[in-house]
């Protein structure tokens, strides 16, 4: 009686039989549409961008010449203004990465070793919410509190520390007319925006430190400082490295923050934006956008030695 009851699923069942006999066909059908999308639209575009960086703008006619040349890269690397931009951006990315690491460590450490259950979930959400909330709103918030007559200035005034703020603003290079238009202010906003990207991988790697290991280290007579240096830090390094990939790469490519908060001095992202837009020099924009790829690749090679990819 079991055999007789089979609903009329003829076509579906035949297709299903086909997939059973030829699993490769199912794989092919599953993989082809998304991979076509990724391959053609995304990777294809990246490749096209790369091609453009080997084209150039004719100096006389201002027309784009579709001919292979290294001129654009030569312009990029030999113009002092351009190399300044690259150096400035890389330095900023390094500074932001360092600051994120310093601020993130106590948070991740506290979460990993001193929170449990609901408290842990609450802390987790407190880190996650800024990560997922609107990037633009957060950039705006940064500019808003750093404004000349804004919250930060007010606090400094209340604490009778206005002289300190003025001293920071008068510092050559770092300072500016106000925090909202200075490299220092930009640095604060970058750090504020990318901080969660450092906390999460760091937390993930600290969570993997077995509590028993720390106990064992203490039992063996290690002072807290020694336990930290010998036991916790080596295990946290991959997390720090993974987080730094995010903070470094994100700072390197950003063009909104330098535009909203900051000095007239350009950053790589802004150059890409301006060159393709108002300047209309797409080859130079493309060449500039190759710079982050190269720098990030170098950076990845460097941090791979620290085991960052295990913590991603």
């Amino acid at each position: 009686m079991t055999q007789t009851l089979r609903p009329p699923r003829g076509l579906w069942r035949r297709v299903s039989d086909l997939f059973y006999l030829h699993p490769g066909l199912l794989l092919f059908l599953l993989l082809v549409p998304p991979m076509l999308w990724m391959g053609i639209i995304y990777l294809g575009s990246l490749f096209n961008l790369l091609l453009y960086s080997f084209y150039s703008i004719n100096g006389f006619t201002g027309q784009l010449e579709y001919r292979f040349t290294l001129d654009t890269f030569k312009t990029l690397l030999t113009t002092p203004a351009n190399t300044d931009i690259v150096i400035r951006t890389v330095l900023m990315a390094l500074a932001v990465t360092l600051a994120c690491g310093l601020i993130a460590f106590p948070i991740a450490f506290y979460m990993a070793f001193y929170t449990r259950g609901n408290t842990r979930t609450l802390w987790y959400m407190l880190v996650l919410l800024p990560l997922w909330s609107s990037y633009l709103v957060r950039v705006y918030a940064g500019r808003l509190i750093l404004a000349q007559e804004g919250v930060v200035s007010w606090f400094f005034a209340q604490l009778h520390l206005s002289w300190l703020l003025d001293a920071i603003l008068k510092t050559p290079v770092l300072g500016g007319p106000s925090l909202a238009s200075s490299y220092f202010g930009m640095f604060v906003v970058f750090t504020y925006i990318w901080l969660p990207y450092m906390i999460l991988p760091l937390l993930a790697s600290l969570e993997r430190v077995p509590k028993s290991l720390i106990q064992a280290s203490a039992d063996l007579g290690a002072r807290p400082g020694q336990t930290f240096r010998r036991v916790i830090w080596p295990l946290a390094v991959p997390g720090v490295a993974a987080g730094s990939i995010f903070t470094f790469s994100l700072t390197l490519g950003d063009y909104i923050i330098p535009q909203v908060v900051g000095q007239p001095g350009f950053f790589i992202g802004q150059m890409v934006y301006i060159q393709q837009g108002t300047a209309g020099n797409i080859p130079l924009a493309a060449a500039f956008s190759v710079v982050p790829i190269v720098v990030i690749t170098l950076y990845l090679l460097l941090v791979r030695r620290l085991g960052a990819f295990d913590a991603l």
């Binding site: 990246l46 106590p106 909330s133 940064g142 509190i145 804004g150 720390i214």
Partner: protein
């Protein structure tokens, strides 16, 4: 480890979290200020009028409408494509699996500006006009990665024997998908979809390049930042945007319970 953290550690941790949240509170406060040209602190007075002003702005509504439509379509595309890759990666071992993984990491590993300018140069080269669909294409690309991350994490928790048991009991591949696999990954799909939606709704870096003359809400917002008048309107919209993105994120967190799948989850700008 000691049972209680040192005071210094506790202060450092709390100060760090405060640093992450304080600016958003200030945004809220400034939505009520009576001063509309500077960011004077403390605000000279408080008023509710900016909410009315903001809601009367037609251009804001138009931008919001465009953003919602883009996010819906991009999320739908991403759900289908992302789930397909996740299924393939879960079910099969094949040559070139690493290449697929790499191509899915790239959109989050490389700065968003690269995706943006790459798409723009390609759009120009092909002689296309930036439009609704070019925005959607850009968004769907990184939303797909978010959906993929969520769904593939859930797939890994689905034991293969459940699928085998279903086939063993007489269900063909399609019935197994409908009755066993789909219920198993449903919440991950929902969570991934919501995160993708929030991501698309908020995206500005890629959109700047692919939008042409169209204004999504973030682009509208960005242009407002450089206007000297009616500044509190920007704050009202900022609160609104924050609320709209928070809801799906909190729901997604609920759906994945621990929220571990949300980790970064493809959220880079």
């Amino acid at each position: 480890m000691k049972a209680k953290p040192s005071l210094a550690l506790r202060i450092a941790a709390i100060a760090g979290i405060a640093f992450l949240h304080f600016p958003l509170l200030i945004i809220l406060l400034y939505a009520f200020t009576t001063e509309d040209r500077t960011y004077q602190f403390p605000p000279p007075g408080l008023t509710l009028k900016w909410f009315g002003v903001a809601f009367a702005r037609q251009d804001m509504w138009a931008a919001l409408g465009l953003s919602l439509r883009v996010a819906l379509v991009a999320t739908a595309v991403a759900l289908v494509l992302g789930t397909m890759v996740a299924g393939a990666m879960y079910r099969f071992n094949f040559l070139g699996k690493d290449v697929v993984t790499l191509s899915l990491i790239l959109p989050i590993a490389l700065p968003g500006i690269l995706t943006g300018i790459a798409l723009l140069t390609t759009i120009n080269r092909l002689g296309l006009e930036p439009s609704f669909w070019t925005i959607v294409i850009g968004h769907a690309t990184f939303c797909m990665v978010t959906v993929y991350n969520n769904v593939v994490a859930r797939f890994r928790r689905l034991t293969p024997s459940q699928i085998e048991a279903s086939m063993d009991l007489g269900a063909d591949g399609f019935q197994t998908f409908r009755y066993v696999i789909l219920p198993g990954i449903a919440t991950a799909l929902l969570a991934g979809g919501m995160l993708a939606f929030a991501l698309s709704f908020d995206e500005v870096i890629v959109t700047t390049f692919t939008a042409g003359q169209d204004k999504t809400l973030p682009i509208w917002f960005l242009s407002e930042l450089f206007k000297p008048r009616e500044r509190p309107v920007t704050n009202v919209v900022a609160i609104f945007v924050t609320a709209v993105t928070f809801v799906p994120i909190l729901l997604a967190q609920r759906l994945t319970q621990s929220g571990e799948e949300l980790h970064g989850g493809g959220k880079t700008t």
